[in-house]
């Protein structure tokens, strides 16, 4: 019995060390926050349009089909990184993308889209960032997957890429499509 007590520190240490090893092995970034809004309905929103040629975004527009909502800004570097991929999604018609321009100047955002291309079906302007806060956004870019009922099903923090889309988002889209068809 006594010996067991002397083993205590070792046992405790091994458990602790295992906990240290796990995040490293899993490759987790401690700064990425999981969304608190998964499975919740998207908040109310009514965002004015960025361009004259495309409508803004209101809650109704986001209900009825599976879609991606992408928060972006012209001053955001990583947004530029993901833009090429967003253009490909836009062209491929896998799933529609809606854009929310976060805390940006209208002129700068317009020019940005002009220079890099516009993958969005609709673009809304979130001038003061309140809408973003309602969605639980804490930085740009962030991309949300919305289902037909208007619920948030997945959120990706940081620039989107082909591999992330394939590994994380595509499966969810497939499941969602099956649900409504089955």
């Amino acid at each position: 019995m006594r010996r067991l007590i002397y083993l205590g520190p070792l046992v405790f240490f091994i458990i602790t060390a295992a906990y240290f090893a796990l995040p490293i092995i899993k490759g987790k970034d401690p700064r990425i926050l999981p969304s608190a809004m998964i499975e919740k309905n998207i908040p109310d929103l009514n965002l004015p349009p960025l361009l004259e040629t495309k409508p803004g975004i209101d809650k109704q527009a986001l209900i009825g089909e599976i879609q991606l909502v992408n928060f972006f800004s012209s001053w955001c570097g990583p947004c530029r990184t993901e833009h090429d991929f967003l253009m490909r999604i836009g062209k491929s018609n896998i799933v529609p993308i809606y854009g929310i321009n976060y805390k940006d100047k209208q002129k700068a955002a317009k020019k940005w889209l002009l220079d890099l291309g516009d993958p969005y079906e609709r673009i809304g302007r979130d001038v003061d960032g309140r809408t973003a806060i309602d969605w639980g956004v804490y930085g740009v870019p962030e991309t949300y997957l919305i289902d037909k009922q208007g619920r948030i099903q997945y959120r990706h923090v940081g620039p989107l890429s082909e591999s992330i889309f394939k590994e994380k988002i595509s499966p969810v889209i497939k499941v969602l499509r099956k649900q409504t068809n089955g």
Binding site: R2, R3, Y6, L7, P9, L10, F13, I14, T16, A17, Y19, F20, A21, L22, P23, I24, I25, G27, K28, D29, P30, R31, L33, P34
Partner: protein, 664 residues
């Protein structure tokens, strides 16, 4: 050329460390004096080799040799010389060189100054110390080599983060490393004792100077870091419970428990297992701190470099050494000879309680710091554990500890008289009460927390002073008799008194600052005035100037009291073009009883500037209290007994190092 020399020196150090690990250990097992004797010159050679490497790296920085990748990434030709030097350890690779340098330094010191250590123990201690060196030198050479070259070399470097270009921060890492790398020696002693299968009072006496030296350095290092954060970061806070701060605080708490626990082993040959365990634990916490800062596992303002691969390597070292030591502990500790008996109410009992409370404090900080990690790894949920948690849980542990600190020293060894001790503490009660009432009178309509805090500080100061007075018979015997007793008191007694008083002063400072700090924020144009804590502050003007490697805006703020001029302070906002980074340099006017802290924000002549002023009562006592603790440690370290390793000669019989009278 010099960089290559540094590189070779590191490889050489690794080879020497390998020899130092294996040969003396084998020699100790075989009782072969010549093999054991390898340890001393090996430790010296290892230190010299690493010193050469460190010198080579420093040379590269000072000469701005940008063909060395490490220099190119962290330095710049325009940087002032002091920061070129401190840039050596302002990055991951360079700081690891500093790490092994200090590791080797302690080995060298024990080799040179540990004259009275029995050869087998000395050989084993140096062997364990060298094994740690092998692990980290391997780590450096395999993953973090600062001597790699860049071809073609860039024209200039990327510069050091401006925040690190500061005298306070230049010295904070070396001091800190002296501290928690220094605890490696206590670890080596503990493991050596486990290998020998024996812990006795002599062992405790031999391990004490190294543990004390590390503790002193760690206290100084943490204080320096805290003070730096206060004056540099611009909003007058001095402790954030940031994970990396906690990573240095945990070994401090555990190291303090170790120091006190070793006293019991030394005086009464008891608490051996606990002391060994604390020695292992303290260094384990140091290693854990090294791991946390460099692995990216936790978010922190301090995080050095985020490299999971390096993190795994350090984790492997951690598992190997701490796991190995704990296995040895589980095997050997149960069969160690039990030491002196004591009653629960006794000095030993008090120190057991002290151990327990400090361990709980360490555990509290540990749990709070690592819980987000554990929860995330287990359930994927994320939770934040910030200052509110630590303030709610750490402080309640400290309260009984402070109460105990006055009572413990009053109790006799082996069998203490609690009622006698308590009656001697009338002075502590009186002082505590007096200060409490005084504070209450000054701040009568406010919550009672500071009153309690000050009362505790008064209790501690009163108890410490009374204990000292009783020891020298002050007010009881003639003054001359007391003074002669005071002269003959061992320095460790002075050390303890100073250190405990230092803590009391620190408590006053911490309580006052957290309870009564005031802040004023305003938008000020030139010539605008405001007032804070009885002072008037006027923004005279804001100039734009050029510094050595930055542009700046400097404000002149004149401080007056009752219309009379007191002083002018010059808060700045700087911009470092190479790193494209702004910093604030707060201006502090200190009266030694309080600080007026002024910080300049953004602004312009037309719109005015954001000006922030704080009044921080008694904040200088925080640094003063910590410095007095360091002083107490130094005084204790200079105790003659520690240097010689034998107790003071008795009038009648000489006593040997192992505690037995000479002729026995």
């Amino acid at each position: 050329m010099i960089a290559e020399l540094g590189h070779y020196a590191l490889v050489l150090a690794l080879l020497i460390a390998l020899v130092q690990t294996t040969v003396p250990l084998y020699g100790a097992a075989k009782n072969d004096f010549s093999l054991m004797g390898v340890a001393q010159p090996a430790a010296t050679a290892q230190f010299i080799a690493i010193a050469i490497a460190f010198g080579a790296l420093t040379h590269a920085y000072v000469t701005s040799d940008f063909s060395v990748i490490n220099v190119a990434e962290n330095s710049h030709s325009l940087k002032p010389l002091l920061y070129k030097i401190s840039g050596v350890w302002g990055n991951h690779e360079g700081s690891m060189i500093l790490w092994v340098l200090i590791l080797a330094l302690f080995g060298f010191a024990v080799a040179q100054f540990g004259i009275h250590l029995p050869p087998t123990l000395k050989a084993r201690v140096l062997s364990v110390q060298a094994s740690i060196g092998v692990a980290f030198l391997g780590f450096i050479l395999l993953t973090s080599n600062p001597f790699l070259r860049l071809d073609p070399p860039p024209v200039d470097g990327r510069d050091l983060n401006p925040l690190l270009q500061d005298p306070g921060l230049a010295f904070h890492p070396p001091m800190l490393y002296l501290g928690y790398v220094g605890f490696s020696m206590a670890f080596s002693f503990a493991v050596a004792a486990l290998i020998e299968g024996r812990v006795d009072p002599a062992w405790a006496r031999w391990v004490r100077p190294w543990t004390l030296a590390a503790w002193i350095a760690l206290t100084a290092g943490i204080t320096l870091g805290s003070w730096w954060a206060y004056y540099e970061l611009g909003w007058g806070g001095w402790w954030y419970w940031d994970p990396v701060e906690n990573a240095s605080f945990m070994p401090w708490l555990s190291g303090t428990a170790l120091l006190h626990s070793a006293v019991v082993v030394e005086k009464r040959d008891a608490l051996k297992s606990w002391t060994i365990l604390l020695a292992i634990l303290t260094f384990a916490l140091s290693l854990m701190g090294t791991f946390l800062v460099r692995s990216g596992v936790l978010t922190s303002v301090h995080a050095f470099a985020v490299d999971p691969e390096r993190g795994l390597y350090i984790l492997a070292i951690l598992v190997l050494f701490v796991g190995g030591a704990l296995i040895m502990f589980a095997l050997r500790a149960p069969s160690m000879k039990l030491g002196g008996l004591f009653q629960p109410i006794s000095r030993e009992g008090g120190l057991v309680m002290n151990n327990l409370l400090l361990s709980v404090a360490t555990a509290t900080v540990f749990i709070g710091t690592l819980y987000p990690l554990f929860l995330d790894a287990t359930t994927g949920q994320k939770v934040s554990v910030g200052p509110p948690f630590f303030n709610a849980t750490f402080v309640p542990v400290m309260i009984p500890l402070v109460l105990l600190m006055a009572i413990g020293p009053m109790l006799a060894w082996k069998r203490g008289d609690l009622s006698a001790a308590m009656s001697r503490l009338w002075f502590a009660v009186a002082l505590s009460f007096g200060i409490g009432i005084f504070v209450f009178w000054l701040h009568s309509n406010e919550p009672l927390t500071p009153v309690i805090g000050f009362a505790l500080a008064g209790w501690l100061a009163g108890g410490t002073l009374k204990e000292f007075a009783d020891r020298i018979g002050l007010f009881r015997d003639q003054l001359s008799k007391s003074l002669s007793k005071a002269r003959r008191l061992p320095r460790s007694a002075y050390g303890m008194t100073l250190a405990h008083l230092g803590l009391s002063i620190f408590i006053c400072g911490a309580v006052a600052d957290s309870a009564w700090r005031t802040e004023v924020v305003l938008n000020a144009k030139e010539r605008d005035k405001t007032s804070i804590a009885g002072f008037e502050a006027q923004l005279e003007n804001v100039e734009r100037l050029e510094g050595p490697n930055y542009h700046l805006e400097r404000a002149t703020v004149v401080i007056r009291k009752n219309g009379k001029y007191v002083t002018s302070v010059f808060p700045e906002r700087r911009f470092y073009p190479v790193q494209q980074m702004p910093t604030t340099e707060a201006a502090i006017y200190t009266t030694l009883l309080a600080d007026v802290y002024v910080s300049l924000g953004e602004g312009s002549k037309a719109q005015g500037w954001t000006l922030r002023l704080w009044y921080n009562p008694l904040i200088p006592w925080i640094w003063a209290g910590c410095l007095i603790m360091v002083l107490g440690g130094l005084v204790s370290l200079s105790d003659r007994r520690l240097r010689i390793g034998t107790p003071l000669k008795r009038a009648h019989k000489k006593v040997q190092a192992n505690g037995l009278p000479e002729n026995a």
